[in-house]
Structures are given as C-alpha cells and as structure tokens.
C-alpha cells in the first residue's frame, strides 16, 4: 500500500497541530495510557458537564500525548469531534473509530461504520475515515486507539 494512504494529509495536519492539546483543570478523571511496545504515552483528563435531560456530556477533554503521528493525530481528531458532546455519542464514536482502524485487518467488508452514526455526529467525526489505512498495519492499531482507550477508561471511571 502507498504510504500516502496511511499518512493522509488530515493525519499529518492533526499531528503537527493537535487540537485542544494540553492538560487543564478542573477535571473529574485522569487516565494514563501507554503502549508498552513502543513507549507511546497519553495522559487524558475529562471534565464532565450536564446536557439536556441531565445527560452526561464531555465538557472538556484535555490531553498530553507523546508518540508517533498516528497516535497524536487520533487523539486530536477524537477530542476535536467529541468535546461538548454526550457520553453516549462518545461511546458510539468509539465503536465506529475502532471499526475503521481494525476492519481491513479482519479482512471483512462491513457497512461503512460512519453510516451508523447519527448525521450530526458523523459530520463532527468527519476526519475519522482518514485513519482507514491503519487497519492494514496491525502494529499501528494500538497507536491509533491509544487516546480513544484513555477516554473510554475515563468515562468508565466517572460512570
């Protein structure tokens, strides 16, 4: 596969200018995730808020990511898309993103995971399909999921 398929411009752009980067207070949960294979690390803080009908929302997600361009960019895309959204949206987005970065590795042709998301969320997560190339490189899947795993853990901790 062509390297450009893996390193889409979207990914390189996010890795060079990660959105909402840095650690901020106050927060309700702080999670540290590492990839012991390569030493990539992410520290992620979650501040919750309350949305319509008392639904939990991700009021602020701040993070410090040290690692390769894939892990940095995926954290940036995630936070960019999910800040201000509900915890349920975050769970749906995780499912979709997980499928994007692993589906080709499983050799399955599935329905575009983005199509299952409600339109508004799919639009916010518009940069996610750029990570489809990762699925061809199993060694990089963990990189792409590092920040996402941290957020999921933070949501579990605060549930």
């Amino acid at each position: 596969m062509d390297l450009q398929e893996l390193y889409r411009e979207t990914i390189l752009d996010h890795s060079r200018r990660p959105r909402y980067a840095g650690l901020r207070a106050p927060f309700h949960a702080e999670v540290h995730q590492v990839n012991p294979i390569c030493g990539d690390e992410v520290t992620l803080r979650l501040r919750l808020g309350e949305g319509e009908g008392g639904e939990r929302t991700l009021q602020d997600v701040s993070y410090e990511a040290v690692g390769c361009s894939i892990s940095q960019a995926s954290a940036s895309v995630m936070v960019d898309a999910l800040t201000g959204r509900s915890a349920r949206d975050a769970a749906d987005a995780y499912q979709a993103f997980h499928e994007i970065v692993t589906s080709a590795a499983r050799g399955e042709t599935t329905m575009d995971p983005m199509e299952r998301l409600h339109e508004d969320l799919a639009e916010a997560l518009g940069d996610a399909p750029a990570f489809a190339g990762v699925a061809r490189y199993p060694a990089r899947v963990k990189c792409a999921l590092l920040g996402w795993t941290a957020l999921r853990q933070a949501l579990v901790q605060t549930a």
């Binding site: 390297l3 450009q4 893996l6 390193y7 411009e9 390189l12 294979i37 390569c38 030493g39 990539d40 690390e41 040290v66 690692g67 390769c68 361009s69 894939i70 490189y137 990089r140 990189c143």
Partner: protein, 414 residues
C-alpha cells in the same frame, strides 16, 4: 533488507539442517530411557553443550541451557532469593541493608528480575548512571561492602556501547560482590572468553547468534553452580526423591528441570560451529565495517542524531557494538520505521526493552539498525536511502542539505 539482527538473527541452512537431521534421525527424550535412540539424543544434547561451552571458552558442566537469556537471569535472581534457606548458600543470601547494583542502560531482562529480587528480600537496588554520550558514568556511584551483586550489560542493545568489564569486575571483587554479565549482544558478535572476563555468571541467547529461539545459555563458575539452590524443580534435576523430600543432581542438571529443548541445543551448537568456521574476529571486523558505514552515512544525511558512541575510526569501531540507534529530527521513530518498512528495510523502533535508558537520554523512542555476519553494504545503503526518503516524506530534509541538492526542503513527496 534485514537490519534487525539485534532483535533476532536469521538462521543459516547449516543450522536448520542440523535440527532437521537430529529430529529425523535421533529424536528422543534425553537423560531417560535405555533405548538406543535415547542414547543418541542424549549424546547429541551433551555434545551440543560441549560445543557451546567451547565457543565461549567454558567447561561443559558450567553451561546451563535455559529457555532464553531472560530465563538465565531470572534463574540467578530467583536462586539468590532462596539462598537464605539453603544449606551452604547462606553466604549468597540478600536481605535489608544489602545492595544489588545494575546500570541505567540495562535491557529490562537485566533490570526487572533484580527489582523483583530486591522487593522480595528487602535489599536495595542502585545503579550506575549513563552519560549524555551513552557511556557508563563510573563516577556516579561507589560499590560498598553491602553490594552483593553487580549485574551489567557487556554491549548495550541500544547504544552499542561496550562496557569496561575489567574495571567493573575489579570494583565488584574489591567489595566481594557477584558479577552477572548480560552477554546477549557480545557473544554473537565478537570473540568472547567468558571465564577470562572474570565475571561469575553470564547469559546469552541462541536466536541472536544464528541459532534457534527457545534456547538460552547461562554460564556460571562451577563453585557458584554448586552453591546456588535450584530454580525450576521436577524431573531430570533430582538425585533421589521420596515422599518426604528430594536431593538434587549435580550442576548443570540441577538447573535443567524437565525434558530439555534438544533440537534447539543441536541447532545452537551448529550455529557455534558455523560462526567458528568463519571466525569470530572476522565476524566482528565485518560488522565494524558496516557499523562505520551506517554512522558516517547518517552523519552525512544530517538531521539525524545517534544515541551512543558516534566515532567511526577503526579504533573507535573496535570498541563498539554493531547496533546503531538514532532519531530523525522532526519525525517520530515509529513513523520512520513505517517509511523504512515501505522501502523494504526492516529495523526496530521503540525503546528496545530499555525504557529507563531512553528516558535518561531524553528520547521517547529510537530507530535501531543492527547487523550480523550476513548483512551487506547494500543493506546499509538501502537504509541510508530510506532515511533520506523519510525526511523527504515528512518534509524535514535539513536546510544545509536541501540547499546543496536543490530540494526546497519542505515539499517532500506528498
């Protein structure tokens, strides 16, 4: 292009053939059974042990065959942890107030087992620091009469630094500490006479020296093997067994519980023969030449920083291992590895199981190129070309170079 021999080496047909010949003509469980095949297998196993011993200047009964080098270090650490309750071994026991000393450049395999031994015994772990240039900082600590073990790596698996064994052995001797040497990156690449080094224990692995996986070697002085309690227990390692208790076989069998890895031993002995046939001095000279080519090539590229000794004169290369770890400015090592892989160049990226060393040098991850006897100048040149391609892909070609080659230094190939 395979430049990841520091992780594992490729095996010559000679080794594969030896394993196959054994498995198709002599395979049986060794040290048990009275049939002819069992005798043949036992002969093959013990003669493999003798060949491996000869390769490092040791006596066969001082060679313990393990699953890998990591198991060898765990064997020593675990055994020392049980010394306090073993008759005749109390002098080796550790407790609160005692010290185990390692270095900051250790592979996790020569660090974590000692951390665990200290945790179990109440002993304290201390370590020699590493200089910015990637050498041991011998002034960073002093050994004391409380130092019971000094464990260090012969050749760093990241930096290529060769540590001053005589100096460290002398320091350990002066305080009566045991010396444990991690020889995983030295025995496969240069002539090594383990007893002559003056250390008490040394470990190395088969798969890094053209041999099979699943076999490692622990060498130790006979008196130490006699005194140390066993590690794994069960069949093969006993003398007599009753329901109440057991006595143990003499070393090395005392440390080889269960049916051992016979075809791997045969394969490793074949690898020793193969390397001896070439001559380890020749192997070392070949690798030094390639290492020099990597170091000068990377320096010429610019925008690349090597972690560890960078000198490329013949004298400097003679005191350096063949692993070259580096970072490409502006590109994470993982991303470098991806582009190199795309160009067909296999290297290792990450912390190479030496996380504290990377932390010390302020590096999160490095790219590591490592050679062996089969590596060629063409492999090295492919690496250098691919590193330049990486710089171009990510738009980080150094300006100095960009100016002389006419590239704009920012565009790259995207």
């Amino acid at each position: 292009m395979y430049l990841d021999s520091g992780a594992t080496s490729q095996r010559p047909l000679h080794v594969l053939d030896a394993e196959r010949r054994f498995l198709t003509t002599s395979n049986a469980a060794v040290h048990r059974g009275a049939h002819a095949l069992a005798e043949e297998a036992t002969d093959a196993y013990e003669s493999a042990r003798a060949t491996i011993a000869r390769f490092v200047g040791a006596a066969p009964d001082e060679i313990v065959l393990t699953k890998n080098a990591t198991e060898g270090i765990n064997l020593v650490a675990y055994s020392l942890g049980n010394a306090s309750t073993t008759p005749g071994a109390a002098g080796l026991a550790l407790g609160p107030g005692d010290e185990v000393v390692v270095t900051e450049m250790e592979h996790h395999a020569n660090l974590v087992p000692w951390q665990e031994l200290c945790r179990r015994t109440g002993a304290t772990l201390r370590w020699y620091g590493v200089t910015d240039g990637g050498e041991l900082d011998l002034g960073s600590i002093e050994l004391t009469e409380h130092t019971k073990v000094l464990a260090f790596v012969h050749t760093s698996n990241v930096l290529g630094t060769v540590n001053p064994v005589p100096e460290l052995v002398e320091r350990a001797r002066s305080v009566g500490a045991l010396v444990v040497l991690d020889a995983c990156q030295s025995v496969p690449h240069l002539p090594v006479d383990l007893p002559a080094l003056g250390v008490d224990v040394a470990v190395f692995s088969g798969h890094k020296m053209l041999g099979p996986t699943g076999i490692g070697v622990m060498w130790a002085r006979r008196e130490l093997l006699d005194a140390l309690p066993p590690f794994l227990t069960g069949g093969s390692m006993i003398e007599t067994v009753t329901m109440e208790g057991s006595t143990f076989a003499a070393p090395p069998q005392k440390f080889e519980a269960g049916v051992p890895m016979v075809s791997q031993a045969v394969g490793l002995a074949a690898a020793c023969d193969y390397l001896s046939e070439i001559g380890m001095a020749e192997v070392a000279a070949h690798e030094q030449q390639l290492t020099g080519r990597i170091l000068t090539g990377l320096a010429e590229l610019g925008g690349v920083r090597v972690a560890g000794p960078v000198g490329s004169t013949a004298a400097e290369l003679a005191h350096r291992g063949g692993t070259v770890a580096f970072v490409v400015d502006g590109v994470h090592a993982h991303d470098v590895g991806q582009v190199l892989d795309d160009a067909g160049v296999a290297v290792r990226v990450g912390h190479h199981c030496a996380w504290p060393l990377h932390r010390r040098l302020g590096l999160q991850a490095t790219v590591r190129a490592s050679t062996h006897v089969y590596s060629t100048e063409a492999d090295v040149d492919a690496l250098l070309t691919a590193v330049r391609a990486t710089q171009e892909f990510f738009g980080v070609v150094p300006l100095r170079v960009a100016a002389t080659t006419g590239s704009n230094g920012t565009g790259g190939t995207r």
